[in-house]
Symmetry: D2
């Protein structure tokens, strides 16, 4: 049985002085083996990842561990506990409105000077030095601030400091009401098939503040900077392999331990493939897998206010002209049109929809794969 | 085809001066036939009643109408449009916290003086005079206030003025995540079977501010006051029949027009039975019907904070000791008990549970029928 | 220098498992001397009481202590830390809307049986036994609950358990934007003059869930029950003296340590008068003191939606017809009346007004003393 | 007396179908004279601008008007009416968290093609064509959207369509608790002195979604693009003059009609200087005026959670080491440091502070001018 070490990380303070803490679970591996960092519940309502971490810990206890495994449930103690009415208002800082998953750090300007210093060094040395630089950069942000950090930055940076120590990073999220899907950097598309998730979003090297980007963009940018100099430094190689995913587990505001076990097995399969663990028990499921480039992942905003009967099934191609939803407008009954069918003029795969039937004109109704493909 | 008349009722004003309005639909019947008042969406997230009113209007268009029918969707324009994050914060006034369905009016002190004036009058005269008194009372509250009314009172009283004009009142609500159930005054238990709803709560003559109470308590108290004098004045008779129900249609934050059609048919059946309409198309479904007195309708508060995997199926008896839910406490993993099974030591029927997996210690987890019975 | 003992009381748990704790400060006195319990910040935005407790502790350190002194700042760790936008949404449980200061416990039915058992006992024995009964009742509520307690009850009962151990109870609150005022049970009017607070509300023996009521109503009801039997049991006597006040310190969302020192001195004066401490440094200020019975403390609800320029000065009599406020309705500019002056047709003393300029029709605009008197 | 025309602009729909409308006031001038667009209350709690528009309309009624004047109070009907507790949660969309003043539109890619087409045209023709292009661009965004617009974009774009028709744009805001200050594009610094506002922020040509930027950045970018080609096209000239300011009027959640009259007069002075009106009654006040480049406008985030006694006076230079605030941490009393003084190690001018005494670690405590200068 593997030893699971628990720490409690202090990430902030509330007005009453109450400490904001995050539990950190570690299973120690060999330093020369690939390592993984997995966190859950950065958005307060997206709780299912905690159940997946629970099931992962249960599974990992008796699995052969190669590299370090770090697991952080309840990653955001503000978002996790912030209720407004019965639901959890956890997508953004309730004071500022800033999305909790847009506060991670990456300063692209560190790349070029670093590359210049690396000329002539071996790839393993470069890898080690760059990892060190990333961790130092984030510690610099945490420790040397005249004007301070925002609440969300302080939380994000402390999580990021843990994430930068791993080769693979999984950030467990959910959609509002949603099918499972995966945010995957374009260069790591091959790895998407190890997850039991039929829909994959392929994302480019653009940093927008999320954890997956904050952990793969630096390496990707480094690879690109070397490539510009004609030097090969591959982050998808056998020797240096860096990947980071946002795993969307389904719908928010729900815990289902049985489904969580399935998702934990899917992650075990990825970890086995990446040699973080050695086990034979896990195989990816056979399924049709759809891919879509991020630029073709479209949000569809409601063309009117009203009450929505969501019709389109998730995950399956929806033909052009087929209804996504019908919108009830009882105020129009008798002197207008009380029922409106909403459709698109092209084929799409609906991935998620808004969490409530009540929408304003302009509320994000659906997110869909357009221009998708099988892979 | 029956004529459906639409009015727009002005119920208040926002800070910008924007009018708070409510649509009122009326189908005119004979004045000597029994009448009904139906409203929906007093709580902002409980939107399905609007869809039921839509389907009712569709069905009523070609049905023989006997008495007046008044339908009010979107009854609460504040609650209906108040979002916090993706969900609708519509159970209480966001400024004061007061439940929107606890602001109706009934002043029991009007009963005794009224009864004294009625000695010797016929029941139809008494009925007409009491109805007039109730409407006048509410108009007095609306129009003669030195210190004013709260936002919620102004909305509630205007709805109540409409409701007092009808013999039967249906207030369409939903639970958070919930099975269908019916709040029914004890004296009207016989009518509960005309609805396709398997669970009925029998409520006593205690006024607590809700619309159903505000419309049946006055008549019930009148009946009781006469009975104390040895005079029979029955509100469950062929000549005078007053009933008021809160119809809980299922879960909040959802619109399903197909399910709404089923519920509309169930209401059509009740209206046909009460002779508000004449039709032959609707029959109550055969089902096991469970009753429970309000005092035995128990809220179960979470014994701990945590993330809940709700296990108990709605609507079916759950044996003593069987789990209602299991609660995940990842913070205890490794040095405590991460999974807690929650059960009761008596047989109950779970009716609804909390809308979110995240609960504080003391959050209302489930509501259950205890001491229930078949009828 | 007196020893100040600090404890941390665990009052609940959040969804993440985070403990809800409250700091409790105690200064030990003689058991035969009168004791006091002081708490602050039960409503989240009403923070100034914490500063008053800070200044009290500073003053008490070098004061001669007679009886036990218990001080609880940050009494409500949920309300205290719950932000929505920049402000603190702390007047009610954000999940249920229930006012945090309406969840204390008093079951009047314990009085009569207790009185029957007391016949023939001495007043000091009765006092001791009743205190014991009150504490046992609240512990019974805390410990023996099949269906559990709400989050707010669990917090309130634990505070109440501390309060029941003291002779004098001060619950430090503030209004929204407000002058200082005092809620005082009618029988304790004489004590109001020891506070440097010009406005006193005299409240009857009606329990509505607040801490002041929950601590004085039991004693008052006991006194009344004995009186009905012709037995004198006075709670305003030299030997048995029980008082409980809600002290409204001014406006919410503000900390001012200098003003807090003034208020701490005012409380020191009361404590010296009650012999909880012995000191000569504190004397009540000379001021015109106004009283008002609770039934004459009127809330004035806005007769329209709009944006309010509050005009009436706090604390001074306002003649009939003089404007309380003027309400801007820009939407009416050009085709209506953009500016409305609001007044009452009787003399009042404005005590507090709403915290924001934006009001709906029906928002509580002002609270005023009507039918006030000097004392 | 000038004619003030009122229109009601439909900018969206709520879930109930309720129309979101904005009142638009217009005073017609000569087409060859400079025109102004003034709006208020884009952020819901920042209501004082409505009162300023009220006073402006009162003043303008009897003033000689040269160019078109358009005034829009209550610019954001969602934010304006959204309450959470007593306060207005109006800085961001309550569903998404996106700041309402970050949703305006400017697509820099239109500049270069436009410039290429302009070679050889006269400046007045270029000006007219560019204005037309800006309006067409925004109408294109409003009318041709397959996937729709967000709620906030729809509101913002409709306001922007009005703003693009004017030469001068004033967006009336307030801070949380704040002194008056002005956001001014660097090239328009000379105009800042016509306002009775002692503090001016000078902002560069960087578009971040706010209305002032959305109206001056296009012209500034156009000027720069011509300059790159060696062509002079000045937007600060006598013939072509484009300016746009965010005017911060003081603190939010307050209406003061007397102060509003002062601010209206300050704006009248600017309009007279710009020849939008002709009048002799208004002169800028003599005052020390401080300027600060945007990059030196620093937010200071709280280094700890706690309850803040704000000490620094607004608008006056604060010496290095002098306290901005002291933070109370009652939970530390007895076993830690309950009072912390917060200061900076350089001279600054405090401009605004957070609206509440309760702050988390990382809450924005103050905003200050650093590296400021007199002008």
């Amino acid at each position: 049985m593997n030893e699971i070490k628990k720490e409690v990380m202090h990430v902030g303070e509330m007005a009453s002085g109450a400490a904001l803490t995050v539990p950190v679970y570690r299973i120690k591996g060999r330093t020369d083996a690939p390592s993984v960092y997995i966190q859950a519940n950065m958005h307060g309502a997206e709780v299912q990842g905690n159940a997946v971490i629970f099931q992962l810990l249960e599974l990992l206890t008796n699995t052969k561990i190669n590299g370090d495994i770090t697991l952080v449930p309840y990653a955001n103690p503000v978002g996790c506990n912030h209720k407004n009415g019965e639901y959890t208002l956890g997508r953004f800082d309730p004071i500022t409105g800033v999305n909790w998953n847009r506060m991670y750090h990456f300063d692209e300007s560190i790349i070029k000077p670093f590359v210049r210093e690396c000329i002539g060094k071996t790839n393993p040395v470069i890898e080690a030095n760059f990892k060190k630089l990333m961790i130092e950069s984030i510690e610099e942000k945490l420790n040397h601030n005249i004007y301070g950090l925002t609440t969300g930055q302080r939380i994000a940076y402390q999580l990021q400091r843990l994430a930068h120590q791993a080769d693979y990073v999984l950030d467990l999220h959910t959609g509002p009401i949603s099918s499972k899907h995966l945010y995957c950097p374009e260069y790591a598309q091959e790895s998407a098939q190890y997850f039991d998730i039929p829909h994959t979003l392929l994302i480019p090297n653009d940093f927008d503040g999320a954890l997956d980007e904050a952990t793969f963009c630096p390496w990707w940018s480094l690879q690109d900077a070397f490539a510009e100099l004609g030097i090969e430094f591959s982050i998808s190689s056998a020797s240096i392999n860096k990947e980071s995913f946002t795993v969307e587990l389904g719908s928010q505001e729900q815990i289902d331990l049985d489904v969580a076990l399935e998702d934990a097995k899917s992650i075990m399969n990825y970890l086995q493939h990446k040699n973080v663990i050695t086990t034979t028990g896990y195989l990816p499921k056979t399924m049709t897998r759809y891919g879509c480039y991020l630029k073709n992942y479209k949000a569809f905003y409601s063309p009117m206010g009203g009450m929505v009967d969501y019709l389109a099934e998730f995950g399956q191609p929806l033909a052009a002209g087929e209804p996504l939803a019908r919108i009830l407008r009882m105020d129009n009954y008798g002197d207008g049109d009380p029922l409106h069918y909403i459709s698109l003029d092209k084929k799409v795969i609906p991935i998620l929809h808004f969490a409530s039937a009540s929408v304003n004109q302009g509320t994000e109704l659906y997110k869909v794969f357009s221009e998708y493909f099988e892979f």
